[in-house]
Symmetry: C2
Subunit: 339 residues, 2 copies
């Protein structure tokens, strides 16, 4: 009698990859300066301020999963992707630490952000240390040095995307100077897509994939990242605070230039929207107006376009079937999360 | 008739290397996000806030000179060391930007520090961008990827040294918890020595030096860095403000844990020194007490020890004679600057 095993679901895929990567990630962080290691551990949800063990929610580990699946998709054992997984998780942690400083965001995963808990200077330092450790992880991994070009290109794009995002908040809401959807896509590709693409590509490269496959996976990851950011924008306005861990309408209160808002601002229905943005007491009204102006549906349609593009690229690359299936599962999960 | 050319003096060596490196450094910075490129240009003294061209004093360019001389010492053309020179100057600029935030230091080379001129968030971002660009510069240079291990190790040590330096200010002035000279040396080696050693080693590696020579040069640069930091400490207390660009006794006012101070605190003559530190109005008195307790002469003696160690290592390595001579000239210059 043959039992057909159901393919793993997304949370199982994520959990399996987190488990595979965790020892190497802990070892890397454990080699840091003790003070900096504590801040890193706090940001991963492993400890409290002062170092007492904790089991606070860390991230879902999307980036590390992409690196492991990238290696598996190349036909290698998932363990081949672990140095890539560690590197991209360290880069992600670095960018969260520094972005929270730049955005003045005092809360991260329902806890005080590192800069709020430890001070701005120490948080800058901890971010730098995570960044340096990411580079070191790849530079010292077997086969790693040749892949550092992928990481450094992603780092450059990440910083470029963050610069654009910061500058967007200062742009006018109307007239020729306002942010265009094209500018938004470039920002989201840099800020979110570059590292997701890098995770997949790095994992595949360490798994021995040919250069063309690595390139296709990098592009697939970038599309996934744009879709991810678009869904994030929708959740930032209409998400359930109990699920997102952020206040309802938070992005509207903070006057963040998200995709639904910039689409709405370009619609004739927008009317008084510019006057409502950044005013916490008018956030509910603003959200209704953005929805009426088609901002929500446009963002979701755009996210679907990029998810489809990612899917098409994955279908085109010569990947190991099992891993490819799990990549598709993960992709669906991320595109539809909590919507 | 033969004319014997006098060997170049240190300022000429530095100027020659700056000239050789400048086009590549400008090209690298020119490829950054325009906003970030302006902050980088401001930090190099190339422009004012807003982007208007300036010729403000940049650094002396010690690190880029070491990279160029490292390549020449390996028997290569100095141009072989240029990617290394660009990378270490970018790392140096990154560390100055972030250190000024961490130390709350509002002035750098007689101008407002980047965080004071552009804001803390943008300065964090600009530092990150410089860091990423340094890695990218080496990752994309011919022969560069294999040397990234040298850079990443230096980055890790740099951050570790900065962490120690920040924590030193919180340590007590007396009793078993006070900072020891050994701890100081480790801090200075990380904070200053690692990048100087990396500059020499990277240049030599790109110049084709054998691994053993690269290792010896890295160690020589680390000793030079410790000596450099010790001289900096002496100048921070007894330096001429017109030359250093910093207030007299500045380090004593800020309660910085420098080598002269920690030696003095270990002496029976120290007496009331702990009570004077961090009190601007008592800084002159504190400086006299540190000197009477032997802090100044001990720091200079320690600097000489490390300069001698660097010199001995350079003498031991098989280096091209001309470049080795210029390295010695530079070393003497740095060890004796403005004392």
């Amino acid at each position: 009698m043959t039992t057909v095993q159901a393919p793993p679901r997304a949370p199982e895929v994520l959990a399996r990859c987190r488990e595979l990567v965790r020892p190497a990630l802990e070892e890397a962080v454990g080699g840091m300066h003790p003070w900096v290691a504590e801040m890193a551990g706090y940001s991963f949800g492993w400890c409290e301020v002062g170092g007492a063990p904790a089991a606070a929610p860390g991230g879902k580990g999307v980036r590390q999963a992409l690196a492991v699946l990238g290696a598996e998709a190349a036909g290698a054992d998932g363990r081949a992707g672990v140095p890539a997984a560690v590197a991209v998780e360290l880069v992600h942690a670095f960018s969260l630490l520094h972005d929270d400083i730049m955005d003045g965001d005092g809360t991260r995963r329902r806890r005080p952000a590192v800069w709020r808990a430890y001070g701005t200077g120490p948080a800058v330092l901890a971010g730098d240390a995570l960044f340096a450790l990411a580079v070191e992880t790849l530079a010292t991994a077997a086969g790693g040095p040749g892949t550092l070009r992928l990481l450094s290109a992603a780092l450059a794009d990440l910083v470029r995307g963050q610069a654009d995002d910061l500058l967007f908040t200062a742009r006018p809401h109307a007239g020729p100077q306002r942010v265009t959807p094209e500018e938004y896509r470039a920002m989201a590709e840099g800020k979110t897509g570059a590292l997701l693409g890098c995770a997949l590509a790095l994992g595949a490269a360490l798994g021995g994939a040919p250069e063309a496959t690595v390139g296709v996976l990098a592009r697939a990851g970038r599309h996934l990242g744009i879709a991810f950011q678009l869904v994030d924008d929708v959740l930032g306005i209409w998400g359930d605070p109990a699920v997102t861990g952020k206040p309802a309408d938070g992005d509207l209160r903070m006057r963040k230039m998200t995709y639904p808002v910039l689409v709405a601002l370009g619609s004739p229905v927008a009317g008084r929207l510019p006057a409502l943005l950044g005013r916490p007491e008018r956030a509910t009204e603003a959200a209704a107006l953005v929805e009426a102006a088609g901002g929500r549906s446009a963002a979701l349609a755009e996210a679907r376009t990029h998810t489809a593009a990612a899917r098409a690229l994955l279908a085109e690359a010569p990947l190991a079937a099992g891993a490819a299936g799990q990549l598709h599962t993960l992709l669906d999960h991320l595109a539809d999360r909590e919507l």
